[in-house]
Amino acid sequence: MTVKQLSVFVENKPGKLMEALEALAESGIDLRAISLADTSDFGILRAIVNRPDHAYEVLSESGFLVKTNNVLAVVIGDKPGGLASVVRLLSEGNVNIEYTYAFVAHSRDNAYVILRVDNNDEAVNILTKNKVTLLTEKELYSM
């Protein structure tokens, strides 16, 4: 119940992010969610795309350092406290969240967040037990 995420090392230089995004666009790869972590020297672009393996190849061939990780795509109620309730569950189960980012989908009732945690199995276990919906890759890409 995890989805594949791409992480791309992007140097803090003008045009570098664009280069990565254009490489994906040219290959017809669709971005489902994206976040950019930045420091003063470099950034890490994290993306959920419709064809992760293809995207990995495309970016590597363009000279980018890419890594894939499994992350959780969590469906939460689009209301105050929606994310908090999920985070509370994980926190109580001693699962650390490394980072999180939200993404937009065409739905009025739900919001979607990507969670990167230190223990995927435990997190999936806790969340499903508590009836939190996790998206599969298939569901995610067809959204």
Partner: protein
Amino acid sequence: MQNYYQPEIECMPQADMKALQSRRLKNQVWHVWDNVSYYKEKMVKAGVTPDDIKSIDDLHKLPFVTKDDLREAYPYGLLGVSLRDAVRIQSTSGTTGRRVVAFYTQHDIDLWEDCCARAIAATGSTKDDVVQVAYGYGLFTGGPGMNGGSHKLGSLTLPMSSGFTERQLQFMCDLEATVLCCTPSYAEFLAESIEESGLTDKIKLKAGIFGAEAWSNEMRLRIEEKLGIKAYDIYGLTEITGPGVSFECCEQTGMHINEDHFVAEIIDPETEEVLHEGSKGEIVFTCITKQAFPLLRYRTRDICVLSSDACSCGRTLKKMSRLMGRSDDMLIIKGVNVFPSQIETVLIEYGLSSNYQLVIDRHNHSDTLEVCVELTPEMFSDTVRAIERRERELHEKIKNILGIAAKVTMVAPKTITRSEGKAIRVVDKRKI
């Protein structure tokens, strides 16, 4: 006589100096032969015995000592006396992480301090002066050497060590220091701090003795103008003794070599052939009086020119020009010797066979070192924390090995500039 500390040596006729050198060299070669088996083996291999060295003209027959020898013989292999006679070490960084350790007997320290006293006297200073030593103290030779020289001359010595600028300025003003000894970049930094603090009127400095790093004549003029002093160059290296191997006089046209202790030759760094005086080449020193660390024909890797021309100061000691470069890849950063290979060693020890580049710059009169390392797939992580942790670990390791802090920056693969397929390891942006 003015401006001399030991006029009988400093102004000795050149023929007499040559005779003195010959006598001392013969004794020294026997001393080394009898006490330094590492060098004796080198002589045997070269087919030379002490009997072959009859005068200074036979110097070229002796084998060279290189930094590799120092590494191989580390720590005690080149020690020329028993431990009970050795009283001090000084140390500098070596080529691949192993430090150079030089030894001194009390006799060696005395002659070193004499050399430094000559350098201070040459600025017109006497026992009435107040000498502020703002070189680092400790393993670094700068502080201890100039401190000892100032004592010998009888000046009041302020053993400030480097840094703590506010305190430097306070003592400089309150104790009315007249001579400043430090690196030229720190002198320039102090000069600006004095201006900014509005202390210019309280400064009584008349001379500065600046060494341990390369500086240009433009930099000298800037420092002289800002501090209202005359700025003198000084040269030395731990392997030979430390500062005071040579020093500048009022003519400021090169540094007089203390030839009664250190005999200089210029060689072609490729062929190792001794070159005629006036040729540009690598300067090689032979210690003819030192007991504990008696290096013969030590290859400094410093490029310069020698001259025996008469000097208006009256000294007959040969002069060496300002340094014109290196015949190896050694860098001097914040007065510290840095070899790119040391960084490479750290990276390899760290399990990285990765491409790197050193970027050296000077901000605010202080050298900066940035080590750019190309990220490898194994090192890359999707979390910033993991990459920054690696940067910090490398930073610590490099600091341990070099003794200076470096900024470690991870860069994307294949981004380090290559020329003709070869990575450019060093980018020196300093304008000096």
